[in-house]
Amino acid sequence: MNTKKEVLEKNEMTLTIKSYSQNESFARSTVAAFCVQANPTLEEINDVKTAVSEAVTNCVVHAYPNSVGDILIKAEIQGNTLNVTISDWGVGIQDIKKAMEPFYTSKPEQERSGMGFTVMESFMDIVEVSAQKPNGVKVEMTKTFKSKASSSKAEDKNA
């Protein structure tokens, strides 16, 4: 019916939310819903949900610890590859390399696991963290869905 849609190569979405913790669920569900068009498996969708939740939680807890600020979420789908960028304009991270180490947390008194970035790296293919100018952090994550291979595997299983 709509041939324009069929030849569409890249699709994009942009979402800005306030850094309230009740928006975490909204943010991860929205990105997950956007991904559906790339035919991910349920497991892949949940991987994306978890990684987005980690990044947004970092913004809520660390970027804006005593204030409410904006979190910008941009997602892009090209073929079966998702690219999602989560940016804030908060206090920033002093030592990004250290922050990405497993179990490192700047707030140990708050029962935090320090595994946020490790989870993102484990659930996505590529995770890049950079400082924003003049302040804030940008987390860029990429994941290619192996939807076709895994759906045929599921068929084999059912057969």
């Binding site: 669920s25 991987d47 978890t50 939740s53 980690e54 939680t57 497993p102 595994m115 989870v119 484990s122």
Partner: protein, 102 residues
């Protein structure tokens, strides 16, 4: 988030239902501490079959409760984690202190 519990044969069964993230962690922590604080159970089993979502915030919540029950010598076990929760548990070594049971 809904936290359900029942006690049977000196075992406290706790079911976490819903989504465990930073937002729901405050309520979850408080509710669990209330349940664990007054329990006379000899062991605790946390059932995650109705937990639709969990991120690494959940690890902080679970380890915090483990520390509290360790002093009372009450072991905590985990059952029915999702694929994502299982991966987070494995990468953090949570099963070393809260073994998985079926």
């Amino acid at each position: 988030m809904q936290v359900k519990s029942r006690i049977y044969n000196n075992i406290l069964y706790i079911a976490l239902c819903g989504e465990l993230d930073e937002h729901s962690s405050v309520y979850t922590r408080m509710t669990l501490d209330e349940m664990l604080g007054k329990t006379i159970a000899k062991q605790i089993i946390i059932d995650l079959s109705e937990l639709n979502f969990m991120d690494s915030t959940g690890i902080g919540v679970l380890i915090g409760r483990y520390k509290k029950m360790k002093d009372k010598n009450v072991p905590i076990y985990i059952c029915n984690p999702s694929i994502q929760a299982e991966r987070i548990f494995k990468m953090t070594g949570l099963y070393d202190i809260m073994p998985k049971i079926n």
